[in-house]
Amino acid sequence: MRNQSAILFEGWGYKRPLRKDYVVRGLNLEIRKGERVLLLGSSGIGKSTLLCAIAGVLGNNEAYLSGSAQREDEDGGLTEGDLLVEGLHPQEARGRCALMMQDPEAQMVLQRVGDNVAFGLENLGVEKGEIWRRVRESLKRVGLGDIELSRSTSHLSGGQKQRVALAGAIAMRPSILLLDEPTANLDPKGAKEVSRACHEVLKEDPATVILVEHRADDWLDILSRVVILGRDPDGTVKVAADGSPDEIFSNPSIDFDSLGIWIPSKFTLAKLQRKRLEDQIRAKFQSDFDPNFEALKNQDLTDNGSGKNLIAPSVKFARKREFERGQVVVQSDGLSIGYNGKAIADNVSFAFESGKITILAGENGAGKSTLAMTVSGLMAPVGGEVKVAPALSQGLKGSPFSWTSRQLCKRIAYVFQNPEHQFVRNTVLEEVMVGFLETGSKKEEARSLAHSLLKRFDLDRYSAANPYTLSGGEKRRLTVASSLASSPEVLILDEPTFGQDRSTWLEIVMLMRSVADSGVAVVAVTHDRELIEFLADKVLTIGAGRECDIRVKGANERKEKERPASLSPLLSRLNPAIRFLCAFLLSIPLFLSLDPLSAGVALALEFLFMEGCGISLKRALKHVWPVFAMAPWTFLAVVIYGKKGSVTYFEWGMIHVTNKSVYLAFATFLRVLAIAVPAVLLVLGIDSTDLADAASQILHLPERFVYGGLAGIRLFTVLSDDWLQIGQARRSRGLGDRKRAVRFFTQSFSLLILSIRRSTSLSTAMEARGFGGNEKRSWARISRTSYRDWIALSICALIPTSALLLAYYCGTFALGGK
């Protein structure tokens, strides 16, 4: 019986760190070998938790292996019950399971495409020749057969990244493939690519598959079983429905709506579901005024003993607006959009109206966000103007880009795709207060206004919580709430429904409708078909095609520029580890003596050596000028505070200028140069992947740390985009006028948090590829040393030695500057 099952949960449960309740509890579920299972259930029911548990990346080893009823793991999570993967504990079965996750970025471990696919194979200890055979084969199976293995992952589209992740997963030849919403973060084109690739792969592969996906339409033909999870009132997670796709989706007794499930459109039940949705939204649409909020307003007024009307002056969606519905608030005037002064579209024409929802639709990379950001004053127009109606500009001249951050936030707000780019405060309440404070409210007033706004968004109970700790849907609601606090007339949302389940989706749709009904011009950048269908008052399509409303010039593919590994072609052929050793050999021995002769001779020889490597004196100086900028100060410090000699030239307080201090200053000056110059030139341009390979293979440093560090370096290069967006988000929220230093520090902190979060999910992706186990890794790339390296090392040892010997024979040698 057990031999037949691929996965077996028996009374299994897991509680995340710091949570009161179990995510999953008391689950009994068996999945047999070769089954293709779609796992459904409302958001928060623990589908991802289950996949992580099966993949063996939840908590740490001991928790699974100890026999006790409840085991705490090092993550602070609590596990109970049993889980067997092919009869083994999940961690022992690592490598048999491959996990593909939602976020494409979080699964790119290394810089180059080929290395990424090879990463899991290295962790499994697969031999080198076999690694590259499997890498090519897997890339071909996911439809990326033509891609250069050396291509940088940062230049791939989302769909391509997901396919690289899939290739990395199948290269490990897993018997169980776990797909956790593989297309949730992709545009329709990317989603198609990925689901097609999965189809291709699964056609031949006998692997057991578990898929989590909110929209099953594209996957029906490869599925053999659908499991719907539900929750009992006591918190136990149970199988609410189990059967073939046809049985499940034709069963009218299942409450798909409250489970947050979209019924695939080929089933008749789907039409009914759609009808219900329409009715729900229409009901909202027809109410011109949100009755809930009116009620809240009154309640607030009675709460406040002073009897002063606190809300009316600041919260515009409750007061009579300056515009009638349908008035143009922003439009274009010969506008060209683009970045770095290069236009991607000319003669852009649009008009956004108050109280209406305009959708900007089009493929990824078509320029939707560029347009939206230009309109919202976060990017400069390349030409022409974003024209603002007088009622909105209220006397301000020029395009929104020329306004200050404070002026901007009162008029146009931008809600970013990633809510975490936007958070600026430590509590939910303060987060919303920012908008009120920046538009002139007093602290107490802002506090009570924020509370009422939070109530409206059903977030008031979290007012003391940290924004980062909310769920995905709640975070999204909070960013909308905090943008509305400064009562903008235009609200622009970037992909508001990305990666949300049906319930959250509906929540967001309702929210957008009610904001528009209050008179705000709402603009959404999206490719969500349902969102367009249910919400759009007007659709503007952007793309390269003729039929598009806004036509963009064919975006040219980013060219890969091969970065030279050194200023010198000779040096770039050396092993990176040897280059570091050379830098050490050249500089460290010079500390033996502090005298002008040894330092000067070494410096001269080093420049000769550089010349020999093809780096001319002029080029060398161009790269090391900061060293020359600092050295005179060092010189001065030694002259006045250095060791005292027999002849004193000048004396004042602590300052003693003596014959010896001047002599030592010369020596130090030269030695600073002799130590810094070659070291800088030798290591400039080293590729971090090559260095990591060399560090583990030549220097035998611990591999887990070497490659962990390498992944960290790659992650940080990705973060430059985040930095830009965090800055724009701050401007949009009215905080962009602060002092530069303040802006810099708060923005840095946000970036640090974001990078820690990213690295945490990256570590899960790395573990899912077998990283961190105790098995011996193999190497996909061999780091070699050749005769050149030995010559370089000898020269680098000879230079300081001869300089020091010369000083010794000339009698200037001074051990430690004696």
Binding site: D75, A583, Y641, L664, A679, T760, M766
Partner: protein, 198 residues
């Protein structure tokens, strides 16, 4: 905190420690542009008041990760990248300094058997890291000054103070701020803070 301390590094420990190292390297590199020796010439010890900016990666990583070696790893990685970006001190010396600074902080946490984590120990670690680094520097690149002279002593004391304040106190409060966001919930260090808040 937790029932028993596990000294084995998890993948998430390595990943987060690496990111702390990489992020710190940018701060190290920017601190290289402070006219250190110029300020020293104006008044001994003035320049080294900023030295803590070069020392904080180790203590910060240690209080977050709480595993043996985290100070050395983070500090070494940070200075390695700082050196590779190119600075006025030269790669080799930068990496050597990073190793010594990391060792200094590590020694303090090791002395408390990686069991006690509080602001005082972190300040001690930051201070000792600075002290060790500065003493070694008078044996290497600062040989032109007499080892026990007034200049060297004021210099060393200033570095140690900066270590205590920036790398110790600063790291501790930075850690608390990070933990408050929930980003460290998978770490015992993060849960210790969040439990108090909730």
């Amino acid at each position: 905190m937790s029932s028993r301390t596990n000294f084995k590094w998890r993948a998430v420990d390595i990943a987060v420690c690496s990111v702390i190292g990489v992020a710190s390297s940018f701060v190290f590199w920017m601190a290289d542009f402070i006219p250190h020796d110029g300020l020293q010439a104006i008044f001994p010890g003035l320049g080294s008041l900023f030295d803590g900016l070069w020392l904080f990666a180790g203590p910060l990583a240690a209080v977050i990760i709480r595993k043996p070696g985290s100070s050395i790893y983070a500090q070494l990685l940070a200075s390695l990248i700082e050196g590779m970006m190119g600075n006025v001190y030269g790669g080799a010396l930068t990496i050597l300094s990073g190793l010594i600074q990391g060792l200094g902080a590590e020694a303090v946490f090791a002395a408390f058997a990686y069991k006690h984590w509080n602001v005082w120990i972190t300040m001690l670690a930051g201070g000792f890291s600075g002290l060790l680094y500065r003493v070694v520097s008078f044996l290497t690149d600062l040989q032109a000054f007499s080892f026990l002279g007034l200049y060297a002593i004021s210099y060393t004391v200033a570095t140690a103070i900066s270590g205590v304040v920036i790398a110790g106190l600063g790291s501790w409060y930075l850690y608390r701020a990070i933990a408050g966001t929930g980003a460290l919930d998978r770490f015992a260090s993060g849960r210790a803070i969040r439990k108090k808040i909730k």
